[in-house]
Structure formats: structure tokens, C-alpha cells
Amino acid sequence: MTLPSSVVGDLGVLGVAFLPLAAINWHSVMFLLFAAVACLAAVAVVAADNVVRMALYLVVSLAATAGLFFLAGAEFVGAMQLMIYVGGTLVLLVFGVMLTAQAPFVAIKSEGGDRVVAGIVGAALLAALVLAGLSVPAWRQPASMHAPPPAATPLGMALVGVRVDAAEGPGVIGPRVGYLLPFEIVSVHLLVVLVGAAYLARAKRRKVPRPIDQVASVEPPASVAAHASIGRGERAGSVLTGGSA
């Protein structure tokens, strides 16, 4: 019985006698690993009782998805996933902590009817997405492993209005237009949101003081002031007498 030389080399180095390591597609193994982590954590988000634990499982699920992107060679999308989704969940986590910190570890139980409805809706959505995914013929083929790794430069150029990656040829009409306008609209939109949030969050300075502030700022009546001074004098006196006695 003879084995291929590459397999023999692997076995000799690793000292494993039965597992043909070279025959395993490690890319698929890593994919399944990340996918399993993402799915299990997603289920755990729904199944958990504690808000903070839910947020943590959500982070794990989203980070595993980022791992899938890195595995596919889409580094920019993966880093984006980490930055936006995982980083965004941070705020969720903080809110969870703030809401449940007063009564620690409150359990959020969902009722049986809710679970059934949620299960049906989720299963229907999953079925629709899987069917839609399988209906695209191009997605059934495995992607070429030897394709050049996608760089972020064409993406950036496209955002400022130049499609350096667009196909050039006789069939293409007009200039290769990028996405400058949508990019600008989204930027301005985000800026407006930011300014609005800052306006809402800043401390209000009232031009006309509220009645309660006016009451508080009024000098105390003479009797109250006299009473307060009596109290201070008494205490000081008692301390003095206590010290002298």
C-alpha cells in the first residue's frame, strides 16, 4: 500500500498515522468553525435571559461573521464589521449594564406563545433567505482561490467618484461614474444627526429661571437666619464647654 508523497511527509512530521491531513480542505474547516460559532452565538442571544449576556453573545456572533469575511479575503469588510457592528454593540452592552445594574442579573423570560410566533417568523425568514441564496447560479460555484486579494483602494476611489475597477471596453458607455453623490449625502446626513444629538444632549441653559430656582435664590427670612445662627452658636458653645470641662 503506497500513499502519495505529500501525505507521507505530513504524517511523518505530525506523527499521526490515520488522518490524511492533506486531504482535508482546511479552508472549509475554518469556514465551518466560524459559521458554527456565529450560529450558536446567535441562538444563544435569543435563548439567554440576561441582557448583558445577550449583548456578549451578539458580539461573539458578529465577530465570528467578521472572521468569515477575513477568511474570504475581504479584509476591509471584515474590519468594517468589527468597527461598526461589534463596536456598535458596545453601546448596546452599556445600555444593558445601565438598565440592569440597579437590580443585578434580572432575568427576561419570554412566554411560550411569543417563542412559537418568533420561531415561525424566524424559520420563514431563514427559508426565504436560503431559497434566495440558492437561486443565484453564480453563488453555487466555489470562488476561485487564486483570485487577487481585493484591495480597499478601488473602493475608496469609487467613493470619491472614480471607478478604477469598472470594466473598460466598447460596450461601456460614458464615464465610469462612482458613488460620490451618495457618499456626500450620507456624510452630510450623518453630520446633521451628530449635530442634532449634540444639541439634544447638551445641558439646557434657561434664559428665564424657573420659579423654583427663584425661590431658592431668595434670601432666607430673618427668623430662619437667626435660627441657623443660634444653632451654629450653640454647637460651637457646647464644643467649647465640653473642651473646657
Binding site: S6, G9, D10, V13, L14, L21, A22, I24, W26, N50, V52, R53, L56, V59, A63, E75, F76, G78, A79, M80, L82, M83, V86, G87, L90, L93, V94, V97, M98, A101, P104, F105, P149, A151, A152, T153, M157, V162, V164, P175
Partner: protein, 399 residues
């Protein structure tokens, strides 16, 4: 390395990749763990000298250089305590979350040309994104400890994160803009030569941006004067009040690892990366072409340069820590949001204008404008020419 394993040793591709990955991971782990040992000792000595004391003197000889090892053994032997009211799973997982984030960010940090765990096309972005995840460990630890001090520490950390992340991102963008790439190897390559080629001295705006970056970086690693999450005088020990033993030391390894990481990133982005202030290797003619030994010698000099710069950065942070008093939380937010963010934004615009109006610098003959050929530094291992990053294809915009 993968090529070496496949061609010279005749291993299959998968096995070669696995070995290369394990070697890189172990090296990075050693950088973090060994670095923490050295830096904790250095921190004690620096703090002592600043406060006119001697610091550790007895353990392991004259300078107490075995002090960290003794501390480590003590931490290993300590009882692992967990409060009764704590959320067990979250309490246990939090130190690993912090440590993993710090570790993962090291993957993309280049230590010398081609000495990088994984050369990512978007390395800068990746490091910033992953460093942001370290906060999760702090907040989870603060929540799961079921202690008021811990919770206060976690909430302060959350407030601090949202304030420093914005200016930090803006500072990082400036060198990326000057280099035209988010690849850290490329960014460092563009600063080769004498020290006036460093982006720190590129123009006045980048000089200011560097100091804004330093401020935000200190805030991002929770060091004094920004150590509000573990304010010892107010919150016992903040988020890690309830931690002891090895779990506690994981938090500290993550902190010292992150300090080294942000310093290394400052070195790559602003201080020329592995290019020394004086291009010794080029002056002596040790380029890639002169032979195998010179080839490794160049890498070694680069490695020493980068680690030296990062260590200087860490020492600088220690100096700051033992010099400045701690800020209040509102002062932290004011510093980061009201001062650092506008300064970084204006300096970004200034650096952009400088790049447009004076692309050659003030003295075009001295500095090397843009990215020229760097005396054989772009030659990869085995004579394979490393593909230089394609210049932005502005020239072919209009047909």
C-alpha cells in the same frame, strides 16, 4: 516563510501555512508576555526614580531585575476568588476578551520589513478596530463583578471610549493620507531614509497631529492621567477590584501589550517604522542585493529600531503617568472631544492642503517627495520583487 517551508523542506501548503501561523502567533505572544515582564519592572524603576526612591533592588541581583518574575510566581500561587454575587460566565470570560483583543491587534503590526504576522491591506484600520474591542473586557468585568466600584469603573470606561475614539481615528487618518495606503508596511516604507523623512517632520500639521495621537493613545490604554476605569484613590481598583491571581494578570498583560502596540503604531505611522534616524544600512551598502547575511542583518537592524522606538514610547507613557495627576471624567471628555477632535480635524485639513500645495516640502532637494524607489528595500525574499502599491490611478480618470 511559507515559501521556505514548501520549497526547501518540501512540506505541503496547508502544513506550511499552519506552521508559519503557529510560529507567528507564538512570537507575538512572547512579545506581549515578555514585554509585560520587562515593562512592569521598568515601571517600578521609573516610578521610583521619579519619586526619588530606589525601587526594587534585591530580587535577582543589583537592580531587582527578577522582580517581575517573583510577582508572576506570586500571582500564579494566589487563590482565584470570585464574589458570590458575580455572574460566573461573564466574570471568567472578561480577562480573556481584553487579552484576545490586544493579541489580535498585534497580528497586523509590522516589526520590520516583511516581519509581520499578516500583511493586511487595511492594517491601520484593522488595528484601530480591534483595539476598540478591548473595552468589552473592561465593561463586562465591571458588570459581572457585582460590585459598585467595578461598575463605576466600567461606566467611566464607556464614557471615555466614546470620547477618545473619534480623535484617535482622525489622527490615524493623516499618515494614511500622506502614504496613500492603509498598509502599515507601505506607510513605513514611505518614510525610509534620514529622519526628516518621517511623517512627524513632514509638515507642522503632522507634528501637532502626532501629539494629539499620543494623548488619545494614552487614553485608549487607560493609563494615567486617563486611568479613570481603575482610579485607585477613588474606586479601590475600578473594574478589576474583585479580580485576583492569574485573571488579574491577564488584564495587566493586555494593558502592557496595548501600550506596546499603540507605541509601535506611533512608530510606524509617524516615526519612520523600522527605518532608523540615520539610514545606517543604506550608508554601509547593506541592501538586499549584497547577500544573504546582509539581508537578515537589515531585518535585524529594522527590528531593533522598531522595538527601540516602541519601548521609548512606553517609557514616555510611564513618565507621563508618574508626572501628571489624574483627570476627572468630565475633564477627560472635554480634553478628547472639545480639544483633541477639533485640533485633529483642523490639522487633517492642514496636512491635506500642505500635501496639495507643497508636495515636495519646503526644501525639495533634501526630502524625498512622495514614494520614490527606496534602494532595494522593496526587494522581497528570494529575489521576488514585492509589488509596490499601485499609485492612485488619478491619471486615468478621464479618457
Amino acid at each position: 516563510m511559507v515559501e521556505y517551508l514548501t520549497h526547501t523542506l518540501g512540506l505541503s501548503g496547508t502544513l506550511a501555512w499552519t506552521i508559519a501561523a503557529v510560529v507567528a502567533a507564538v512570537l507575538v505572544l512572547n512579545v506581549i508576555a515578555g514585554g509585560a515582564l520587562v515593562f512592569i519592572w521598568a515601571e517600578r524603576k521609573v516610578a521610583a526614580r521619579i519619586q526619588d526612591r530606589l525601587g526594587p533592588t534585591r530580587t535577582g541581583g543589583r537592580f531587582g531585575w527578577l522582580q517581575s518574575l517573583a510577582d508572576g510566581i506570586k500571582l500564579l500561587a494566589k487563590e482565584d476568588l470570585m464574589p458570590d454575587g458575580a455572574d460566573g460566565l461573564l466574570f471568567k470570560i472578561a480577562p480573556y476578551v481584553s487579552f484576545c483583543a490586544s493579541f489580535c491587534a498585534f497580528i497586523a503590526l509590522p516589526f520590520a520589513f516583511d516581519v509581520v504576522g499578516l500583511r493586511l491591506n487595511v492594517a491601520v484600520f484593522f488595528v484601530v478596530a480591534v483595539l476598540g474591542l478591548e473595552v468589552f473586557g473592561v465593561i463586562i468585568a465591571g458588570y459581572a463583578s457585582a460590585s459598585k466600584w467595578s461598575l463605576f469603573g466600567a461606566m467611566r470606561e464607556a464614557a471615555q471610549v466614546v470620547s477618545y475614539e473619534v480623535p484617535l481615528g482622525m489622527c490615524v487618518v493623516v499618515p494614511v493620507m500622506l502614504a496613500g495606503s492603509m498598509d502599515m508596511v507601505t506607510i513605513a516604507e514611505k518614510q525610509a531614509g534620514w529622519f526628516w523623512n518621517w511623517y512627524l517632520f513632514h509638515d507642522p500639521f503632522t507634528f501637532v497631529v502626532f501629539w494629539v495621537y499620543v494623548t488619545c493613545a494614552v487614553a485608549s490604554v487607560n493609563r494615567a492621567p486617563f486611568d479613570l476605569a481603575e482610579a485607585e484613590s477613588e474606586l479601590v481598583a475600578g473594574f478589576h477590584t474583585e479580580y485576583s491571581g492569574l485573571r488579574w494578570s491577564f488584564f495587566f498583560m493586555a494593558e502592557y501589550g496595548s501600550m506596546f502596540l499603540v507605541s509601535g503604531m506611533a512608530a510606524v505611522l509617524f516615526l519612520g517604522g523600522w527605518n532608523g534616524p540615520i539610514p545606517i544600512a543604506t550608508l554601509l551598502g547593506w541592501s538586499e542585493g549584497t547577500g544573504e547575511s546582509a539581508h537578515y542583518l537589515v531585518r535585524l537592524v529594522g527590528l531593533a529600531n522598531l522595538i527601540g522606538k516602541a519601548t521609548l514610547g512606553v517609557l514616555f507613557m510611564m513618565w507621563i503617568r508618574w508626572t501628571l495627576p489624574r483627570l476627572r471624567i468630565d475633564q477627560v471628555m472635554t480634553t478628547c472631544l472639545k480639544y483633541c477632535t477639533p485640533i485633529a480635524a483642523v490639522m487633517f485639513a492642514g496636512a491635506m492642503l500642505w500635501q496639495v500645495l507643497l508636495p515636495g516640502g519646503l526644501m525639495p532637494g533634501v526630502g524625498r517627495p512622495g514614494g520614490e524607489v527606496r534602494e532595494g528595500w522593496l526587494e522581497g525574499p528570494g529575489g521576488r520583487a514585492v509589488q509596490a502599491p499601485a499609485p492612485p490611478a488619478v491619471a486615468e480618470i478621464r479618457p
